[in-house]
Subunit: 171 residues, 2 copies
Amino acid sequence: MKQDQMIDIREATEQDVPQLLAFIRELAEYERLAHQVVATVEDLSRNLFGPQPCAHALVASLDSHPVGFALYFYNFSTFLGRPGLYLEDLYVRPPARGLGIGGQLLARLARLALARGCGRMEWAVLDWNQPAIGFYRKLGATPNDDWTTYRLSGNALRDLAAVESAAGISD
Amino acid sequence: MKQDQMIDIREATEQDVPQLLAFIRELAEYERLAHQVVATVEDLSRNLFGPQPCAHALVASLDSHPVGFALYFYNFSTFLGRPGLYLEDLYVRPPARGLGIGGQLLARLARLALARGCGRMEWAVLDWNQPAIGFYRKLGATPNDDWTTYRLSGNALRDLAAVESAAGISD
C-alpha cells in the first residue's frame, strides 16, 4: 500500500444504500449471477434501516471513496447454543484489491462476532472462485463439505404454505 | 394416521427449552455429530427468549406429547433485497415419523416466511441423508450445488479479530 492511501471501515448508514446496491450488482456480475438481482433501494433501506432490520453492513473507503462493503446478519447454532455471524456478501472493487481491504472488513466482522458472543463466522463461496477460497483457507476457514443447502422459493414455497393438514404431505 | 391421533404445531415457550435441548441432542446423534453439542438450557433460554432473541422454535405434539421441533431464524438475501427464513433444525422422533408431522412443521414455516415477506426458505442437509433429500426434493426444493459454506471459529476467529491494520492480511 502506498503511504498516502487511507483505508477506513465504518458502519453503513441509510445514505449508503444506493452505493450498497451498486456494489451488490457489481458482485453479482462477478459471480455471473446478475440476472438474480431484483433488490431495490427501497428494499435495502427498509430491511437494513427500518423498524425491523434483518441485516447490517460495513462500508470500506479508500481515500474517502467507497470501494467495498460487507453485509452480514446473525444466525444461530443449536449445537453451540450461541449465535453466529453470517457474512452474506463481501466485495472490494477490482482497482482497490491487493491493499488488504477485504481482510480489514473480515477482521472487523470477527471483532463484531466476538463482541456479540458468537461461536463462529460463516459464509458461502462459489466453488469455482479459487482466489477467494485460497484467501479464506489462509485465514483458517474450513469448508462444510458434507452439507448442501436446499432452497424453496416461488410457487413451491406458496404450495407448501397452502398445506393445512397432516394428510397433505407424508414424510 | 390413526383417526384418534391429534397433531398440534405451536410456538415454543421458555418452558419448552429442556425438551428442545433433548431434541437437539437426539438430532445430533442421528447426524453422528453428538460430540459437537455443547449448548445448555441457559444458552437456549437466553438466545431464544431473552431480550435479544436470535432464533425461534416450533414444537410439534402428538396426542399432547412433544415429538418434534423446528428451529429457525431470518436471514437476508442481497440479490432479492428481502429476508429469508432459514431452518436450522428439523426433527421428529422416530416413533412419530410417517404421520406427516415434518411436513406440517415445514408448512407452518412456509406460512411464517410468506407472512414476513421472505423470498425463500433454506436449510442445510447432510449429503448422506438420502431419505431427507428425497423428501425435500418432492416439495420442490433445489440444492445450491455450486456453493460451499466456509466456517471460521476458535483460535482462527480470535486471530482474525486481533488484526488491526491493513498490513495484517493481504488479499
